[in-house]
Symmetry: C2
Subunit: 130 residues, 2 copies
DNA sequence: GCTTGACTTAGAGTAAACTCTAACTTGTAG
DNA sequence: CTACAAGTTAGAGTTTACTCTAAGTCAAGC
């Protein structure tokens, strides 16, 4: 069981942010009798996944929605389908971002090549066409 | 020569945002005698490049810095090197984002596969380890 | 018991990038 | 000439995701 500072160090995330994620309904650490947060391996793994989703720009609201579906799931009300739908939507989002990044990487590489060729005073675009 | 609404339509960007970019020093349209903005092909191409940089999360401040270097360039003070440095820094940034996205895409794909296999009531993680 | 560093809370503050409003001016079609 | 759509401005407001502060409580070593 980890304290917040250990989790903070292990995930390279400030304790402030970790508490903020809890307030936003993304994390549920247990507490000691005196109210101090305790995190186990499961929570650590989950936080790492959340950080991955955030790094790929999944909004906190959507992550919370995913968590809520998870917590709401039961025998008579299974939320698997909805969670799958959320994951698939984000997967598409990630793929769109990949496409945009690859195109832009290509464009920047070309621009860099032009800069290196025409070394002094590059033409490229006349931003202010006066 | 395009009006702001034409540019807006051509780039799928609101006129508000286009004016905001101008205020932030990223665009320099010419003006009619009465003060109405006019954009030529060069400005359109430049805006499209700016939108690419934004879509790959280059901060507006850095784009402005790039523009300022471009405008400041002259025979006695060539800024090519600095612009190249900025582009290379962003290129690295884009590559880092690509790496993160590819890893996360992989992870999500695995998770989706697990969901599809264990269809009802997926185990994955027990978020609230009570 | 005392100090010291880590923990707690509610709530305020910040940064970035838009996004909108209000009041006004300009351009165009009838 | 008139209507009205589209343009203009300064500046206020919004959203998202943190980030920090203040005032206090808890835990461990001496």
């Amino acid at each position: 069981m980890y304290t917040i500072s250990e989790i903070s160090r292990l995930t390279q995330t400030t304790a402030h942010t970790i508490r903020y994620y809890e307030k936003e309904g993304l994390l549920f650490p247990t507490r000691t009798a005196s109210g101090i947060r305790r995190y186990d391996e499961t929570q650590l793994t989950w936080l790492r996944f959340v950080l991955r989703l955030r790094a790929t720009h999944m909004p906190i609201d959507q992550i919370r929605e995913y968590v809520e579906l998870f917590l709401a799931s039961s025998d008579k009300h299974d939320t698997t389908r909805d969670r799958l739908r959320l994951l698939e939507a984000h997967q598409q989002n990630v793929r769109d971002q990949l496409a945009e990044l690859m195109q832009t990487e290509q464009l920047i590489t070309e621009k860099i090549a032009t800069y290196r060729k025409h070394h002094p005073s590059v033409a490229e675009e006349t931003l202010r066409p006066i």
